[in-house]
């Protein structure tokens, strides 16, 4: 990059560029020295990772550093496969929350770093371009943390054929619908629902009149009013609020980003709209968002991918879900978030695959190990059986409510486990009004 800037300042004795280059070299050198012992060249196996560390999706990638540290610690003694000990190197790159950047770094990982396995996480903006690069370059790839429909159909996947090199584990839209319905069925309402769906990939999928919420809700006896797709970063929800008031909606649902939900939620109060249940996907995942809403965060409901109460254990570290989040909270002094479990599971599965691959030098052999995975991870069992499609396996999804505890802190309480009975319920749904 520095070379491309024009050299107007080259009249100085030492140009700034030289200084910057030298500085960067000095910073980078220890990293290179640490990971490349000269005698172990042939026994090195590389995992490339892509995730968002900066930009609007940075919240999803927040636990990256912690998880990488943890995994590097476990792998410091190497990984044994076929009677040999292999050094495992993890090269992580930032997608900067952009799809094109994700594709660019994935291709760097494949072509210049020559990684043996690619893993990626967090939203279609990361998983899809990375998986596409891997498919084209015939490199095995495992992804997570993106509902499977945007992952599979967003990449123009054909359920009959599927993909060859790329595999994914997470839940899907049908699970969201099932858990939302189970949540609403647990309390008495007039079953009139107001829908808030933005004009983005998630909003269009959720609000789709054929495959989204509308037909499923109608079948379950709910009356959904969908005013139409609004644009992201909306500043005014008056027209939606007026419409919901007119139909006397007691439930509000949708898929929103946190700023949009916050705008809607203050305006609803200002304009006298008081629903009984508010169940919103995406916006209400992170504790920081709920904290930012103050007292008005109490009682909001959301889908739940993973919590410390989930009854699963990491087969890599032996930690329970609670032990993993405790370790995270201790190490970072930050509240736990749902993506942590999936980021840990991603490396669990990757390492399991590398342990089982017959020939680590052969991509086909690694791919074969992926397809024969039968693994109990911290987010549940991972095994690609061809359901719902060849390249996707699903993890359990439940729903629950943010409830304020006596100490003023919010706790995410699982209030319904109908779609996944193996996950224990933590409390009862409380109505907002």
């Amino acid at each position: 990059m520095a070379d491309r800037t024009n050299g107007t300042r080259s009249e100085h004795g030492i140009s700034r560029r030289t200084l910057v280059k030298a500085g960067l070299g000095a910073i980078a050198a220890p990293a290179v020295l640490r990971v490349l012992p000269a005698d172990a060249q042939s026994n090195v196996i590389k995992i490339g990772h892509v995730g968002p560390r900066t930009g609007p999706l940075a919240g999803f990638g927040e636990a990256n550093a912690f998880i990488h540290e943890q995994v590097r610690g476990i792998l410091s003694k190497g990984l044994s496969n076929g009677g040999k000990t292999w050094q495992v190197q993890i090269i992580s790159k930032d997608s900067q929350s952009s799809g094109s950047r994700a594709a660019e770094v994935a291709s760097e990982l494949i072509l210049s770093d020559k990684v043996n396995l690619v893993v990626a996480d967090s939203t279609p903006d990361t998983t899809n371009p990375v998986a596409d690069q891997c498919e084209v370059n015939e490199v095995p790839c495992i992804t997570t943390n993106c509902p499977w429909q945007p992952y599979f159909f967003g990449r123009k996947g054909d359920p009959k054929k599927g993909f060859t090199w790329t595999y994914h584990f997470f839940w899907g839209l049908e699970d969201v619908i099932a858990s939302f319905l189970a949540l609403w069925d647990s309390a008495p309402t007039n079953k009139v629902v107001g829908g808030l769906f933005p004009n983005d990939a998630d909003g269009n999928a959720w609000g789709d009149p054929k495959l989204g919420l509308p037909p499923a809700l109608a079948k379950a006896g709910y009356k959904l009013h969908d005013p139409g797709r609004y644009q992201l970063m909306n500043n005014d929800f008056t027209s939606q609020i007026t419409a919901f008031k007119n139909i006397k909606a007691e439930i509000v649902t949708g898929n929103m980003i946190p700023p949009d939900f916050a705008t809607f939620w203050s305006q609803a109060a200002q304009q006298g709209f008081r629903p009984k249940i508010v169940t919103i996907g995406k916006a209400l995942l992170f504790p920081s968002v709920i904290e930012s809403l103050g007292a008005r965060g109490d009682g909001l409901t959301s889908e739940i991918w993973w919590t410390p109460h989930h009854p699963f254990k990491s087969s890599l570290t032996g930690q329970s879900a609670r032990e993993l989040t405790d370790a995270y909270v201790k190490a970072t002094n930050r509240p736990w978030t749902q993506p942590i479990g999936f980021q840990h599971a991603l490396f669990e599965v990757a390492i399991d695959v590398l342990k089982r691959a017959k020939n680590l030098q052969d991509p086909k052999s690694i791919l074969e190990a992926i397809t024969t995975t039968k693994y109990n991870s911290i987010v549940g069992p991972v095994q690609w059986t061809g359901q719902p499609v060849k390249n996707v396996t699903k993890t359990p999804l439940v729903a629950g409510q943010w409830q304020r505890q006596a100490n003023g802190k919010y706790d995410l309480v699982i209030t319904t486990n109908k779609p996944a009975p193996e996950i224990p319920v933590g409390g009862k749904l409380k109505l907002l009004s």
Binding site: G228, Q231, N234, D236, Q240, F261, T263, Q270, R296
Partner: protein, 291 residues
Amino acid sequence: MVPLMEWVNIILQGALLGGLYAMFAAGLSLIFGVMRLVNIAHGDLIVLAAYLSLLATDAFGLGPMTSLLVVVPLMAVIGYTLQRGILNQTLGPDLLPPLLVTFGLSIIIQNGLLELFTADSRRLQAGAVEVASLHVADGLSIGVLPLLQFVTAIAVIAVLQLVFYRTALGRAFRATSDDQDVAQLMGLDNRHVFGLAMALSLAVVAIAGIFLAVRTNFDPAIGPARLIFGFEAVIIGGLGSMWGTLAGGIILGVAQAIGAQLDPGWQLLAGHIAFLIILAIKPDGLFPKVQ
């Protein structure tokens, strides 16, 4: 048919939102008017002000509104320093260098905030006033906060107008705006005048940032999305006209509200269309002061 009262409500809420857009726009309009600088980092500076207010409320236990007492002067100082330290170096006959530098600044601010405050979605909590409202008639409630925001916008615009047309500082602003070389011959130090203009601009940014942060959540990356409405309000109102900027903000807010009522998908589009129509009919905006 939608009842009349609903339309009144929709248009009124849109007009109140216009106040916020006008505050986004006022600072932009001011510096473009004085020094022909298009500040791409304006949206990020709004977010920076929001974070400064967050720090002030956390550290001193101030409410968001009282934190203005700290944040407004602080942002003004940042503005003056920024202008004297960096932006003055880039000003010249070519519009491109300041554009690129503020673009870079935008990226630096976003990533700096991400490092310092993480990607958490934050909000300033103003307590009961956030959800308080005045019940005007059946089906018509006006939120206290949007109303306060609108009144503040009018006050800010009025003060800027006074400064511009009734004070020596305003005369200096207008003189440099008209002809930089002649202004210098008359003994004005352009670098200082520009610094003061940026200070004033960022003082307004601070107020806008705090209202935005009470109204909705913010995180380090949301700045640029807020910038476009500011630009549009400036163009609709006409460059250099403060009251025009307010009118531009209101027109934008009302157009969006009407669009949303027809179909939520048309909300932003309606605003952009209103902007394009005005640009087509009156390319200088409604009340142009600067050519």
